[in-house]
C-alpha cells in the first residue's frame, strides 16, 4: 500500500512529533535557500495521536515575554541555579517555586530528550479550577429543496446521527429551502418554527433580536448571568439548543413531519434555495452561545444557493452554474459577491469559535467553491458526494459521531503558536485555520497563506488535521558569521485545544534542525524529504492558482523541477544521458509529473466545487495521504504473486490481474478482462476455485481497510477492464501506451486514448533541460 510509509522506505515518517519538513537541513543563507527551489516548510499534524506522547497534568512553563516559548528538552538547565535558558531566544529564566525540587535526577517530563512532544493538561492538577466542560453543540442545517427520495436519505442519516450524539450534547435544527426554518425544540405545545426569508441578508444582531436572544426582549431576565467566568448563554438559547437526551423524541417527530420545500418551483427554474441565509441564521444562533463552546454547524446541502446572500447562480435554469472557465474569464457574476459574503460569515464564526461542516450531496454544484473560505477558516469538514443515499455521504456522516478508535477526535477552539529561532521567519500557514493576527519579529515579510502572524485559530481540528507552516531563512548579519552561529535551529509548535470531552489540552512540540553551510550540498540532499516537498509544492501551487490570476501552474512546476534537478542532479553539462539523481530526489520528478496531471493543476476537468473540495482536503491531510492524492498507489493482485505495488502505468493492466488503485478520493478495484470473465461465470462460488474467490476478496478487504481509516470516506469503484467505470483507473495511469502506440501493446494490457505525454517523454525532456548550461 503506497500510503504505508514503509513502502517508501522510511519508518513512520511522521514520527513522534508528526512534523515533516521539506528540508531537514537548513541552508544558512537566503540565497542558498532560494537555490533550493523547494520552499522550507513544515507539515504538522498537531493532534496526531501517538501513544508515546507524554501527558503532563500541569500547565506549561513559559519563557518570558515576548518569546513565551515553552520549556523543552532543548533548553539548557542549570539545576543548581534553578535556571533554564530558552533555546529559541536565549533568555535565562528562573524556575518558579514549584519547580524548586528539580535536579539532575529529578527532571520533569518536558525536559526528557525523547519528549520533544508533550501534552499538558493545565487544569488537571487543580480539579477545582476546572470549568465544567461545556457540552458540544451540533446545529444541523438541512436543505429541503431536494426530491422526496433524497430527503428520506437525509432523514435516515439524521435519525442515525441522533442516536449517536452524546446525551449531553446540545442539538439544534434548521431546515431551509426558499426560507429558513429554525425549529424551537424546547417548545412543547406544538411544532414551533421561526421562519426567515431567504432573500435578505440578516445580521447576527438582527437574528438574536428577532429570536428574543439579545436580551432586549427578555424582560425581567435581564442580562445573562455570569457563570463560571463564561458568559452563560441566556436560558433562551435553550429554546433552540437542547441536550440530545431531551429532544430526541421531538427531533424524530420533526424528521417524520419534515417535508420537501413547499414553495413551488416554476418550470425552467431551479428550486429557490437560500443556503446563505440559513448559514447566517445558524451562525447567529450560535452567537448566542458562549464563546468557547465547541459548536459545529453541520450543513447538508442538496443544491446550489439560488437566492439571497451567498447565491451562486440564478434560479433560471438557462444559466449554468459557473465553471472554471467562467471563473477564469471573470464570467461568474455571483462569485465574488458570494465569496465576500462567506468571508464575512467565516470571520463571524471564527470570532465565535464555531465550525462549519459541509456535506454536499448533489449532482450539480452546491457552491463549495464559494463556501470554501468558511469551511477552511473554521477548520470544518467537507464531504462531497452525488447523493445523500451514497455511501460516501452516509458513512462519512456517521463517522463524525463515532466514538472510540475510529473517532475523528473532533476538537474545538484550537490555537496554534509557532516559535522559532531568530534566523527563521514565519511566512504563514496553509491549512484549516485563521490568522489570529499576532504580529511579531518572527513574521516574514513575504506571506504565504495565513501570514503576518505567529498564532492561528483552529476552531475545529481533529486527529488528522494538518497544517503547512512556511518559513523563510533570513539570517541576521551577526548570526551568519560562522563564529557566532548556533549550529541549531529550533522551532516550537504550541497547540492548545479543547478535546472531544471538552478538556483543555496544550500540546507542545519542539524540533531542532541543523544549519548547513551553503557549500555543503550533500547535507542538504540528505535532509530532503521528497514526499513532503511534493505535497508542499502541491499546496503552494494550489494556493497560487487561487490567488494569482494568470498563474501558469504547469510551467511553474516544470521550471521548478528543472531548477531543482539542475541544482541537485548529478550530470555532465549538456549531456542528458549522464543525468542522475540522488535517491532522496529520485521520486520527485514522478511526483511532479503526476501533480501536473492531477486534479489540483488540471482543474478544467472538474467543477470549481470539486476543485475546492480537493484542495481543502489536500491542505488539511497528512503528508502521506496527500501524496496519495498526487500520485495514487497501485497494487496488483494475481495468482502468480502476492499483492505487489506496481508502477502507476497503463502497462500495469493485465487480463489476469486485479488492480487496486488508491487515489485517496476514490479507491478503484479493477478486474482484468479474464478475471472479470471468470467472476461473471461464477467460478468464485465453486469450491474448487477457492483461490480465485480469495483473489477476488483480497482487494476488497484492502479497500475496506483504506476506506475505514479515511475521512471523508473515499468513493469505492469496482470495475472491469473495458468497462465504463474503468476510466477512474485509466485517468490516473501514466499513458505509456496510447492509441498512437497501440500496435506495440502487450496482449491483455490496455491503452489510453490521450495525447498527454507519458512519463518517459517527460523524463527525457527534463533530463535534457536540466543539464543545459
Amino acid at each position: 500500500m503506497a500510503t504505508d510509509p514503509s513502502a517508501l522506505g522510511a519508518p513512520d515518517p511522521d514520527g513522534l512529533d508528526a512534523i515533516r519538513l521539506t528540508w531537514n537541513a537548513l541552508p544558512r543563507s537566503k540565497l542558498e535557500a532560494s537555490k533550493c527551489v523547494i520552499p522550507l516548510a513544515a507539515c504538522i499534524s498537531p493532534l496526531r495521536s501517538n501513544p508515546n506522547v507524554v501527558s503532563l497534568p500541569y500547565p506549561p512553563l513559559r519563557c518570558k515575554q515576548p518569546c513565551l516559548a515553552v520549556l523543552n528538552p532543548f533548553s539548557q538547565v542549570d539545576f543548581n541555579a534553578k535556571i533554564w535558558i530558552c533555546p529559541i531566544c536565549y533568555s535565562r529564566n528562573h524556575f518558579p517555586p514549584h519547580y524548586q525540587s528539580i535536579s539532575e535526577d529529578r527532571i520533569p517530563g518536558e525536559l526528557y530528550s525523547a519528549c520533544t512532544t508533550v501534552e499538558y493538561s493545565p487544569y488537571e492538577s487543580n480539579p477545582a479550577a476546572i470549568p465544567a466542560p461545556p457540552p458540544p453543540v451540533f446545529l444541523f442545517v438541512i436543505d429541503t429543496c431536494v426530491i422526496e427520495e433524497e430527503l428520506e436519505f437525509v432523514k435516515s442519516a439524521m435519525r442515525q446521527a441522533i442516536g449517536l450524539i452524546p446525551d449531553n450534547a446540545l442539538v439544534g435544527l434548521i431546515t431551509f429551502g426558499t426560507q429558513v426554518h429554525l425549529h424551537e425544540l424546547g417548545f412543547a405545545d406544538l411544532t414551533k418554527i421561526f421562519v426567515f426569508r431567504g432573500t435578505k441578508e440578516i445580521t447576527k444582531e438582527q437574528i438574536l433580536d428577532q429570536l428574543g436572544l439579545s436580551g432586549r426582549n427578555m424582560g425581567p431576565r435581564g442580562p445573562h448571568p455570569q457563570v463560571n467566568g463564561f458568559n452563560h448563554p441566556s436560558g433562551a438559547v435553550n429554546r433552540f439548543l437542547l441536550p440530545a437526551s431531551e429532544c430526541e423524541y421531538t427531533l424524530n417527530t420533526l424528521l417524520d413531519d419534515l417535508q420537501t420545500d413547499q414553495w413551488p418551483v416554476e418550470a425552467g427554474n431551479r428550486s429557490i434555495r437560500c443556503t446563505g441565509v440559513a448559514l447566517s441564521v445558524a451562525a447567529g444562533l450560535l452567537g448566542a452561545c458562549m464563546p468557547g463552546t465547541g459548536a459545529r454547524i453541520i450543513a447538508l446541502l442538496g443544491g446550489p444557493c439560488t437566492e439571497g446572500p451567498g447565491m451562486i447562480v440564478s434560479k433560471d435554469l438557462s444559466e449554468p452554474v459557473r465553471s472554471h472557465k467562467d471563473l477564469a474569464k471573470d464570467a461568474a457574476p455571483h462569485f465574488q459577491k458570494a465569496v465576500k459574503f462567506y468571508d464575512a460569515l467565516a470571520k463571524q464564526l471564527v470570532s465565535q469559535g464555531h465550525v462549519l461542516d459541509l456535506f454536499a450531496s448533489a449532482l450539480d454544484q452546491v457552491g463549495i467553491a464559494e463556501m470554501k473560505v468558511v469551511v477552511e477558516r473554521t477548520g470544518g469538514l467537507v464531504v462531497l458526494s452525488e447523493s445523500f443515499g451514497h455511501a460516501v455521504f452516509k458513512d462519512s456522516f456517521k463517522r463524525i459521531f463515532d466514538v472510540g478508535e475510529n473517532a475523528l477526535g473532533l476538537s474545538f477552539n484550537g490555537a496554534l503558536e509557532v516559535n522559532c529561532s531568530k534566523d527563521l521567519k514565519i511566512q504563514g500557514v496553509i491549512g484549516p485555520c485563521t490568522s489570529l493576527e499576532k504580529k511579531g519579529v518572527l513574521c516574514a515579510e513575504s506571506v504565504v497563506g495565513q501570514g503576518n502572524t505567529t498564532a492561528w485559530k483552529l476552531c475545529g481540528l481533529d486527529r488528522s488535521t494538518s497544517l503547512t507552516v512556511f518559513f523563510d531563512v533570513s539570517p541576521s548579519e551577526r548570526s551568519s558569521q560562522p563564529a557566532h552561529a548556533n549550529p541549531h535551529a529550533y522551532v516550537q509548535f504550541v497547540t492548545s485545544y479543547q478535546n472531544p470531552e471538552g478538556q483543555m489540552k496544550i500540546r507542545v512540540t519542539t524540533i531542532c534542525r541543523n544549519w548547513v553551510e551553503s557549500s555543503v550540498t550533500e547535507e542538504l540532499v540528505q535532509g530532503f524529504d521528497q514526499e513532503t516537498a511534493a505535497v508542499v509544492l502541491a499546496r503552494y501551487i494550489s494556493l497560487k492558482m487561487e490567488m494569482e490570476e494568470e498563474f501558469d501552474a504547469t510551467r511553474w512546476i516544470d521550471r521548478s523541477l528543472i531548477r531543482l534537478c539542475s541544482r541537485f542532479g548529478d550530470y555532465r553539462k549538456d549531456d542528458p544521458a549522464s543525468f542522475n539523481l540522488h535517491s532522496n530526489f529520485s521520486l520527485f520528478p514522478q511526483f511532479m509529473f503526476n501533480l501536473r496531471r492531477s486534479q489540483f493543476v488540471q482543474v478544467f476537468n472538474n467543477s470549481p466545487d470539486e476543485t475546492a473540495f480537493f484542495r481543502m482536503i489536500l491542505n488539511r491531510e497528512t503528508v502521506t495521504n496527500s501524496v496519495a492524492m498526487i500520485q495514487p498507489s497501485l497494487i496488483a493482485y494475481s495468482f502468480s504473486a502476492p499483492p505487489t505495488p506496481v508502477l502507476l502505468d497503463v502497462a500495469a493492466i493485465a487480463a489476469d490481474r486485479i488492480l487496486l488503485l488508491d487515489a485517496y478520493f476514490s479507491v478503484v478495484i479493477f478486474h482484468g478482462l479474464t478475471v472479470a470473465q471468470w467472476r461473471n461465470m461464477g467460478y468464485h462460488n465453486q469450491p474448487e476455485h477457492q483461490a480465485f474467490a480469495q483473489l477476488l476478496q483480497a482487494p476488497q478487504e484492502e479497500a475496506q481497510i483504506i476506506i475505514n481509516g479515511r475521512f471523508p470516506v473515499p468513493r469505492l469503484v469496482v470495475c472491469d477492464q473495458h468497462g465504463s467505470q474503468a476510466r477512474f483507473l485509466l485517468a490516473k495511469l501514466n499513458p505509456s501506451a496510447t492509441y498512437t502506440t497501440a500496435h506495440e501493446v502487450a496482449p491483455g494490457s490496455d491503452i489510453i486514448f490521450t495525447d498527454d505525454v507519458s512519463f518517459q517523454v517527460f523524463s527525457e525532456h527534463l533530463q535534457r533541460l536540466a543539464v543545459q548550461s
Partner: protein
Amino acid sequence: MASLQPRPPPNYIPNPNQTPNLAADSFQNLQISGPGSAPPPPTATSGPISRAVQPPPGPVPRGPFASNGPPMAPPSGPPGVTPSMIRAPSAQSVPAPFPGSPPSNAPYTVPPPGRGQPVGAPYMTNPNLNPVSQPLQVGPPASAAQPNPMMGLSASQPNSMNQNPLGSMGPRPFPGQPSSQPYPGPPALASQPVRGPPQSFPGQTFVGQPPMGQPPMGQPPMGQPQMGQPQMGLHSMGPPSMAPPSMGAPPMGSVAPPFGGSAWQGQQRQGGMLAPVRMAPAGMGQQPMVSTPGAVMGYSPHAGAQVSTPSKIDPNQIPRPVPSSNSSLVYFETRQGSVVSPPPPATSDFIVRDAGNCSPRLMRCTMNQIPCNGEILTQSCMPLALMVQPFALPHPSEEPIQLVDFGEMGPVRCIRCKAYINPFMRFIDQGRRFVCNLCGFGNDTPRDYICNLGPDMRRRDADERPELCRGTVEFVATKEFMVREPMPAVYFFLVDVSMNAVGTGATAAACSAISQAISDIPEGPRTMVGIATFDSTIHFYSLKRSQQQPVMLIVPDAEDVYTPLQTDLIVPLGECREALEQLLESIPSMYQTNKIADSAFGAAIKAGFLALKPTGGKLLVFQSVLPSVGIGSLSSREAEGRINISNADKEPHKLLQPADKTLKTMAVEFAEYQVCVDVFLITQTYVDIASISVVPSTTGGQIYYYYPFSAVSDPAKLYNDLRWNLSRPQGFEAVMRVRCSQGIQVQEYSGNFCKRVPTDIDLPAIDSDKTIMVTFKHDDKFQEGAECGFQCAILYTTVHGQRRIRVMNLSLPCTTVLGNLFRSADLDSQFSCFLKQAANGIPTTPLTQVREQIVNHCINILGSYRKFCATISSSGQLILPEALKLLPLYTLALIKSVGLRNDGRLDDRSYWASHVASISASLAVPLVYPRLISIHDLPSKEEGDSVLPAPVALSSEYLSDEGVFLLENGEDALIYVGGMVNPEILQKLFGSPSLEGLPSQLVLQQFGNDLSTKLNEVVNEIRRQRCSYLRLRLCKKGEPSGMLFHSYMVEDKAPGSLSYVEFLVHVHRQIQIQTKSN
C-alpha cells in the same frame, strides 16, 4: 350572558344578500335569547302608560315632571292643527297631523311637510312657508297663539291650551290613534280628556303627556290664530341687542335654577300643571328674561308662583324627537307614478314597496326634491348628498331584491354613460330605442331586448321585468366584469398575544370568540380560514390536514415581513375546523407566560395581508396594546399630547391624525388586493386609534372598540360582534359608482373605502352596516318639473363566489322653489351628513372650530329658511322648518357628543370619528342623541306593542332619584341608578338589593322575576334594532360613572355648554343678527 345562546343553530344563508331577513334573524339569535322575531319597532308604549299610572291621572296632566317624565314635548297641537288635520291626514294612515310617527311632537310641529301646509297656514302669513315651519317662539309673548310651536310662549294665553287645537284634532291623534299610532298611551288619554281640561291649568299642555293634555283642547282658544302677536312679544325677547348671543355665563347661572330649578318642580307637584307653555325659558336669553318677565307673569297665573322667572319656554314643548317606534308599521311605497313621497324617518320602522325608486334604506337623499340649480342649493345652505347603504337590511316583510340574468349579453347599459337599464330609461320608437335617464343619450335597444310599447308608452313587459319596474335589482355579472375568478370567502384572524393581551384576558376572549364564531360560519367549500398570532413577531399556523398538529411558523422580522408558506396558511374551513378549534383553545395557555410586551400590529397585518394576497379576503385583527415595534409602530402620543397641551400647544387635533403615512400606504395596497381589515381593539390603554383606524377605513372594514376591556363582561360582546361581522349580509371585492343625471355631478364620496380613480370607489368588503355618503354639486341646471336620477351600481362577489351587480335607482323631482327644498328636507340624512363632516374635520381642525362650524351650519340653514321662507313672521319668533325642527336639538347633541367634547380621551374621539364615517342614517341620530328609557317600571307588554317603553328626553329633569334608567346609543348602554331606588327593584333587576359590589361593566342576567325578564326583553330588542350587542355599564349617582351618564344629558346645561333652551335662544339670536345684517 345568560341570555346568550352559545351556539345558535347555524343559520345557513344561501344568499344572505338576497334574503337579508334571514341574516337579520340570525343576528337576533345572536344575542338574544328570545326576542321573537317580532319586528315591532320599539314602541313607546310603556312610557306613556307608566306615567299615566303613577300620577294621578286626572290632576296631573303634566307628567313631564314626574319621574317618568314623558320625554316628549307636549302635543300642543297648535291651532293649526285643526286645519291641517283635515286634509293632510288623508295620505297616511297615520294621523295626519303628525305625519309619521311623532305624534308627540306634533304639537308644535306643523304638519309634516306634505300635508303640513294646511296647518301652517293658519299661523303663518306666508302660506308657503308656514306649512313647513314651526314657529318657535322664544318670547313668552302672546304668541301663545301658536300652539305651541313656540316653546312655551304661548303662555300668554292663559289658556294656552293650545292643545286645543288638538282639541279639534284631539280625537284623532290621541285617542283614536291607539290603533294606528303607536301611542300606547292613548288609552290613558281617553280618560283624561275628560278631566283633563279642567284641571289643567291653563297650562296647558302638558307636554309629556301629550295625550292627556289634550283634553283641554277645547278651550284654549289658543290664540292660535293670533299667531301674529306672539311675535310681538318676541321682540322684547329678541334680545338682539342683548348682544351676546352667547349665553353669557353669568346669566346662565341664574337662569339655570329656574329651569331645572326646584322651583318648578315644586310647583309641579302642586299643581301638577304648570303651565306648560311658557316655562322656562326664561333661561333662554338671560336678558330676555328681563323683558319678558312681565309678559310671562301676566299670562300665567301660575307662573307667578314661579319665582322670579319671567319668561319661560316650556322645556316640555321644545321640539323633541318622537319615538318612531310608537307608530305602528308604516308602509312606504317609493313612488306612486310620478309622485315621489318623502320616506319615513330612517329611525322608524317601515316596510318598503319598491315601485321604481329604491328603498330609502339603500339610498336616502338629504332632500327629496332636487334644486334645479346651484344657486337655490347654495341659498338653502343645505347639503345635497346621498346616504348609500347598499346592503342595508330590509324589513323581513319586504320583497327580496330580484336577480336578473341577461346571459352572455350582460345587463343592458347606456352606451355613452354606461348607466344600467332602469325603470326611468324611456323607450321610444316602438321600443327599438331608449333614452338614458342620466345622460339623455338615445341608444339602440339590443335586438333580444326589444319589446313593444303599450299605450302608456311603457314597455308592455315593464311590469314583468324587475329591471324596468324596480328601483333595486341585481344583475348577474358576465365575464367582462371579472378580472379573475370571483374570490372565495376568506377569513384570516390575527390575535395579539403580547404580554398585556394575555394578561388582560383579551387573547382568551378573542380566541373563544373566534372559536365560537367559526362554528357558525356556513361551511361552503369556498370558505377558507387562517390564523396567526403576534407579539413582537408574527406566528402563523399551518393547519394542513396531513399534519397531526398545527405547525407554528414564526416570522420574526417585524420590520420587513413575509409569509412563511405559500400554501397551508389558509385552508378550507371544512378541512381544519377541528384543528383550528383545538389551536384556539390552546393559544391562551401557550402564551400564558409570554414576557414580550411589544406588539407588532403593522407587521402582523402586513403578514396577514401577504397570506391573503393571492385571494383577497377579510383580515380580522384582535389588538390589545399600542403597536410598539415593527412597521407602522406608533408612539404613545397621548402622553406626549398631554405634555404639549400643558405647554399650550395649539394643535392638539394633530394627535387625531394618523401618526404617519405608513399604515395608509399599506392599507391602499391591501385594498388593491381586496383585503379588508377589521380591527377589534380589546384594550385597557391608549392604542392610537387615530393611526390604526386608517387601515379599516381604507379597506372597507371597521373598528370595534372594547375599552376599558373587561374579561368578565366583554367577551360576549366580542363574540356577538364577530359573529355578526362574519354572518351579516356582505360582499367582497366590490367596486361602486354613483351616476346621476346631467345637471349635477358627484363631488365626493366619503366612507370606508379606497379610491384609486376619481369615479369609482373600491371596497374590498362591503356589508349591511356600512354607509357611504356621496355629495353632489351642480354643473348645470334642471328644468322645473324634470326629474333627477341617481344610480348607484355596485359590482361585488357574494360570499358564495358569484359576481353580481347591484343597481339602485332613485329619481327625484326637481324644483326651483326653496320652500319645497325645506319641505322635502330629510333630517336624518342631513344630520348624518353633518355628523360625517364634523368627524372629517376632527383631525384637521381645532375642536372649537369644528363645533362652531356645525352650529353655524345649523344657523345658516335655519336662517335661510327664516329669511326666504318665513319672512313675514316677526323677527322675535324663531321659526323652524317642520322637516328640520329637530336640527337644533341634534346640533346641540352633536357638539356635546363624545367626538366633539373637550374632555374626551383621544382614542374615544378617534374611535367616534371612525365609527361615524361609515354609520348609517338610522344609527347616526341615536349615536348622538341616545335613547333613554326608564326600566324600573317597565310596563307589561301588550299585544302588538313594542317591548320598549317610550323614550325620555335627555334632560336630567326627567330623571328621578327613585328610578333606574337605560340609555343606549346603538353602541353602548348605560344603566343609571338613582340614589333612592327601592332596593326591591334593584334586587329584581340586578339580583342584589344594593349596588355595592356590582361591577360597573355589567353582565345582564335573568332573574326569575317579571321586571328582570322585561329588562332582558328590552335589551334584546334594542340589540336587534341596532344590530349591535350593547356594552352595559352601570352608572351610579354620585360616582364618576354617574357623571358619565350625565354627560349624555344633552339638554342639560353643563360647564362650557348650553342647555337646549339656551341653545335655541342662541340660534334664534344669531338668525336675527343675520337677518338684520341683510
